[in-house]
């Protein structure tokens, strides 16, 4: 298990992940902090909200691209066969890869958190919540990218599919509100609206509620603002376990 863990870290260092992404994160932090100051009032709040939202996206994007292309490279170079030739179970391999990827994400998350702490958000307790939820989101995104890239043959397809699920996860709360009639649209359409509502409810069961994670309102107004409170914790735990189980199932079906 530790061998896989070290291998992923070594390739991340070799690919200069810890050089490029932190530099990009710092540049994005600086740009959004300055942009926020252009606000007529509440410049600090604007800087914090813009920096938080933008850096979160960059961390997720960086992890997805790294994991999908790295897994693809494992298959192309047949390194995965060499790794699985050792006496290690495929479930343990998936778990160790996920832990390694998640720890990479945790290391990357330190950059935006440090930057936001420097910006002094109105709620430091909210910053703690935001940090915890972004860490869990990083682990969840790594699991999602790993599962998709193990199932799909192409790295580009894996990246696009993972990002599609990620975007759907961030929008699912809004889509449920739409089909549930909160904006009056579903009610106007009668049976069609009811059918859409049922469909969306079924879809929501298998899509993670990513809109509950890393909410910028926590930074501005404290952990009691926003939606869902601490429900991101069980969401992350359940969904990561589900994804790892699916990835293990898929890997066990493959013949090398």
């Amino acid at each position: 298990m530790s061998a896989t863990f070290r291998y992923v870290w070594l390739t991340a260092i070799r690919d200069r992940l810890f050089l490029v992404l932190p530099l990009l994160l710092l540049a994005l932090l600086a740009a959004t902090a300055v942009l926020g100051r252009a606000s007529l009032v509440e410049g600090e709040a604007a800087s914090v909200a813009l920096a938080a939202g933008a850096t979160r996206l960059l961390v997720v994007l960086g992890l997805v691209i790294f994991v999908c292309f790295h897994v693809q490279r494992l298959f192309d170079s047949r390194e995965i066969e060499a790794m699985l030739a050792r006496p290690v179970r495929r479930g343990v391999f998936v778990l160790s890869y996920w832990l390694a990827g998640g720890s990479l994400g945790a290391a990357l998350v330190l950059v935006p958190v440090a930057g936001l702490a420097l910006l002094q958000p109105p709620s430091m307790v909210g910053l703690g919540w935001w940090t915890a939820s972004l860490l869990l989101e990083a682990f969840l995104v790594v699991a999602l990218a790993l599962t998709v890239s193990l199932a799909v043959g192409s790295a580009v397809t894996a990246v696009l599919a993972t990002l599609a699920v990620y975007l759907l996860g961030r929008e699912i709360g809004f889509l449920l509100a739409i089909t549930g009639g909160e904006f009056g649209l579903a009610q106007e359409q009668g049976r069609l609206g009811l059918g859409l509502d049922v469909l969306m409810q079924a879809l929501a069961v298998v899509v993670p509620r990513l809109d509950l994670f890393a909410q910028s309102e926590w930074l501005l107004y404290g952990p009691h603002a926003g939606v869902g409170g601490w429900w991101f914790v069980p969401q992350a735990a359940v969904y990561v376990a589900l994804l790892l189980a699916v990835a293990t199932f898929d890997l066990r079906r493959r013949e090398f």
Partner: protein, 273 residues
Amino acid sequence: MNPSSLASSEAAQTPRTAVRPRAWLGAAIVLLLAAQALLWQGQLVHLRPRLDVVPPPPSAWAMKAQALGDEAFLHRWRVLELQVFGDSGGRATPLRQFDYARLTEWFRALDGLDPRSDVVPTIAAYIFGQTREPAQQRLIIDYLREHARNDMGRKFRWTAHAALLARHRAGDVELALATLDDLSLAPASSLPGWVRLMPAFLRAQVGEREAAIDLMRVMAQDPQLAETERAYLAWQIERLQKAPEAKDAEDARPNARPSTPPNARTAAAGALP
């Protein structure tokens, strides 16, 4: 010797040369460049992006969809856009050319993303509230009143600002007084002294001296009032009682409003003059 093996050995020995481009390919490139130039001159050069002074505001659900679950981020991003409406791309647009009906829709849409923030009413009051057009002023006043009514305990300053705009920019005293009546939506104890005094000062300004005095007497009965504030109210009441020209103006003003606001009617006059 086998001809195929001879050919393969010759191929192995002969260096590969570059494939010369066909003549038709060069002609096609020239023709396509000419077509592009004609298209540009004919149509594309005249096409311009739409640069509305105030673009059409997205609906509430469209805003939520664009937020991708992070409404605070989208709110701050779009507020930066709101600040430069009409002033981007080298333009400087006079306020009278803005579509204030669309602007107020933008204000409401952005409030839907973050109702606690004060940046939108600040922009509305201090930038767009500078207009001299009465119809536009009225829209700003109505927006500020509506924004404050959603949370009067925290947003009372926007009611006060709307009343100031009504009184001093629009010159509509009745509207200013009606705006200040909105303050009754919040408990008096949650409002600072300067806000609670505004109705009294406004009535005194327009000659409703007795109404102003009554309001101040009611305020002075507040047991939590500081002694310095109580002394200040006593001085104001005494000053108003000594102003004879204000009484004449009050008698001459048609349709004078009731002397006590709804939240003061049940309070008895105290020991003040």
